[in-house]
């Protein structure tokens, strides 16, 4: 049968088919491109890779701490993707229903230190790792206040506690030494200055540094005789709990550490995270928490 196409017509037809194939290819490529970009930005596959490492390293760091501490990790939701974080036997798993499979990371801990099996779903908001003794627990924020730190049960009662109940807010570092309680906050947050008491031997300073790399630090020298590290640990623990009760669960790390100070004698040092700076720049509430802690310590 004779074909009715001319040479020119046949040539055009080939060209048209080729053009159509190109067009289809371009459309497919564009769909693939947008799909990949959409998945990268909203699908959470990057976060699924990132969070296990973040939390695994965090738990490893918590496990290495010689003291009681807690750290909060903010977990974001990527688009509609919500993550499930679980852990058992030195492994942290992060998965999402919208994404196939899970990502995992490992936790290194000294012998005897371990964490309970946990599963948090959906893991949005802040997830906390809390270490007390050899046990590490992982909590959601709304469960955290139920697990205030257990403080050393030693007697630190002072009969004249009533005379110590003055909290001083100042931005003058030179005034910290030699005064019972001083709270130092950034200049912008100075609320009031209360005349100082002059009792020697105990100094409390809350330093909220303005620099990005500096954290809010509480120094406390409990003074007195006896087991000073344990006294410091008790007070540091009470301060952490009081701050939590005043502000709710704080965002970041609180780490009571025993260290020498530029102040008078040894002291407990509590490092708060950058995320808590906003809360801790409310002097009245900080004072209230510190006084409550001191009352529990001395009262």
């Amino acid at each position: 049968m004779k074909r009715g196409w001319s040479r020119r017509g046949q040539s055009m037809s080939d060209e048209a088919i080729w053009f159509l194939a190109q067009l289809v290819g371009a459309v497919l490529l564009t769909v693939l491109l947008f799909n990949t970009i959409d998945n990268a930005f909203t699908g959470g596959s990057l976060a699924k890779q990132f969070y296990p490492g973040e939390i695994g390293l965090l738990l490893t760091a918590v496990a290495q701490s010689p003291d009681a501490m807690y750290i909060g990790v903010p977990i974001k939701k990527f688009g509609e993707t919500e993550f499930t974080i679980s852990g058992a036997k030195n492994v942290v798993d992060v998965s999402a229903a919208a994404l196939r499979g899970s990502s995992r990371f490992w936790v290194f801990a000294p012998a005897g230190v371990g964490f309970d099996t946990f599963s948090i779903a959906p893991a949005t908001g802040t997830v906390y790792a809390v270490k007390q003794g050899n046990d590490i627990a992982v909590h959601r924020k709304d469960e955290f206040n139920e697990t205030l730190l257990t403080c050393p049960r030693i007697n630190t009662t002072t009969r004249d506690w009533a005379s110590l109940q003055h909290t001083i807010v100042t931005d003058d570092a030179s005034r910290v030494t030699g005064t019972l309680i001083k709270v130092r906050l950034p200049r912008s947050t100075i609320a009031s200055t209360v005349p100082s008491t002059t009792r020697q031997g105990a100094t409390l300073a809350l330093v909220a540094a303005a620099g990005r790399s500096d954290r809010v630090v509480v120094y406390y020298a409990p003074g007195g005789a006896g087991d000073i590290p344990t006294r410091g640990e008790k007070l540091g623990c009470l301060i952490i709990n009081a701050l939590q009760e005043e502000f709710g669960a704080l965002e970041g790390a609180v780490l009571p550490t025993w260290l020498p100070l530029p102040l008078d004698g040894p002291a407990v040092r509590i490092v708060m995270s950058e995320g808590d700076d906003g809360a801790l720049r409310k002097p009245e509430r900080v004072q209230r928490a510190l006084v409550a802690a001191l009352e529990a310590f001395y009262g």
Partner: protein, 156 residues
Amino acid sequence: MAKGAAYTMFELVRYSLMTAIVVIAIVTFLSAYVRIMTDTRPTEAAIYSRMLARADALHEGVLLVPERLTDETLDGILAHPDNRFVGAKVTLTDSVSGEVREAYWNRRWYDIYKPVTSTPGPGSAIDVATTWNVLVATPQGAHPGLLNIDVVTPAR
């Protein structure tokens, strides 16, 4: 016919080249501006290095005790029941006496991964070496020393 066929072949090659250029451009754009994966191994290695260098188990106060620098001690600091992910070689050099002491964290897998650190791509590993200034406890008193930690971790 021959002329028409040559024209079609020219077009075919031209379109193919154009398609290849567009695909390469898109892939380049994606890899340059859209980050799907991030290699966090150097940061992880730095963290492990710090944890080993500052571990309480190696120190007496601020002094590093050379006798405590053993494979068993290092494995106890960062312990895991099935560690196939990372290992390290720790070398302590006493800057006064010149004495050198070595120990390994997870030696089995360090020895496996170390030879492939110079090879890029899948199946390879990276090594991150960090040197820490330490004070070494000796019978003659505290000596300045260097603690070199070579952390090796495989591609994943």
